[in-house]
Amino acid sequence: MTVPAELDRRFRESAVAEGLVDVGYDLADSPIGLLLVAATDQGVCRVAFDPEPERELATLARAFGTRVLRTPKPVEVVRRQLHEYFEGRRRAFELDLDLRATPAFQQLVLHELARVRYGEVDTYGGLAAKIGKPRAARAVGGALNRNPVPIVLPCHRIVGASGSLVGYGGGLERKRALLELEGAAI
């Protein structure tokens, strides 16, 4: 005998309603594959391309607390905005983010990244110069590679100096698909 679905749903809702959840997460369908989206009470803390939650959940637990629970409510907003983005109806995300677990240098990079607009691209070196560290292109690349909230913070808009796509945490095919969706000149 398994837990009845209705009872299971009720428990998960009550857990959120009573403020007992550190991280709520769910899976979201998208044209570039299934996404795992997660949020704390402060905001969205993770968008992951690998929808196999096993490793992801342990990482979230270490960063934000062990009370990690699959429940749709906390991620409702980010799911909706991602859906609108993929339908071409949204060009900017209006979301609170929780970047507590992100190191200071990376936060600086991500903050600058957030200014790169829909459909535009910049280079690793360009971003490095904008944060006042023109020789830190590689470090910027590393920081982007560990972007906890890809798509929402658009690391796909950063390309190599030659204009080639170079690298992407979610794989180059996804990067190309996102830039094509935005109509970027690549």
């Binding site: 005998m1 398994t2 837990v3 009845p4 009872l7 299971d8 009720r10 428990f11 009550s14 857990a15 009573e18 007992l20 959840v21 550190d22 939650p53 959940l57 342990a58 979230l60 637990a61 270490r62 607390g65 062990t66 009370r67 990690v68 629970l69 699959r70």
Partner: protein, 163 residues
């Protein structure tokens, strides 16, 4: 140095123990009351979860919470016997104690249904879920000796009924 296992994300813990705790509560309380008790058990677990420092004995821990919730419910009830029996009869034909239940559980569970609450919990935890007496003691909030005693007096009672 002993290395203690990290506390798993709650989702993993809930997936691992949700179904067996639900079956256990149905056994102790009947289907309807088990639903409320299930919710209460895992909300209590969630409240305490952030303070856990290691992942040892998590199964015994959640059985402890479930047992306490069930005993609280029994205390709260005015005429527990009738209700429990009614609920159980209602459920009897619909898949209780089948599938992945522990092997000893099926026959035992039915037999244990009319035991006093503490003895029933002790017998089901010992022979249905194979918990050691130390864990049963924790679940019942008693000493290990008292847990042994509750179990064996439950078993004696069952034997008397069977003869």
């Amino acid at each position: 140095m002993m290395q203690s296992m990290a506390v798993p994300p709650f989702e993993r813990f809930y997936e691992a123990h949700g179904a067996e705790i639900f079956r256990y509560l149905v056994r102790l309380l009947g289907r309807q009351a088990a639903e409320d008790a299930f919710q209460e058990t895992f909300l209590r677990a969630l409240r305490a979860y952030a303070d856990l420092r290691h992942a040892e004995h998590l199964r015994a821990w959640v059985f402890t919470i479930a047992t306490r919730v069930a005993l609280d419910e029994h205390r709260r009830r005015r005429s527990p016997k009738t209700q429990v029996t009614d609920c159980y009869l209602e459920e009897n034909g619909s898949g209780l104690a089948t599938g992945d239940d522990p092997p000893a559980y099926a026959e035992l569970a039915e037999l244990a249904d009319n035991l006093p609450h503490t003895e029933r919990a002790a017998v089901v935890l010992r022979y249905g879920y194979d918990l050691p007496y130390a864990d049963i003691a924790a679940a019942l909030g008693s000493s290990e000796d008292a847990a042994r005693q509750a179990t064996s007096s439950g078993v004696r009672r069952l034997r008397r009924r069977m003869t």
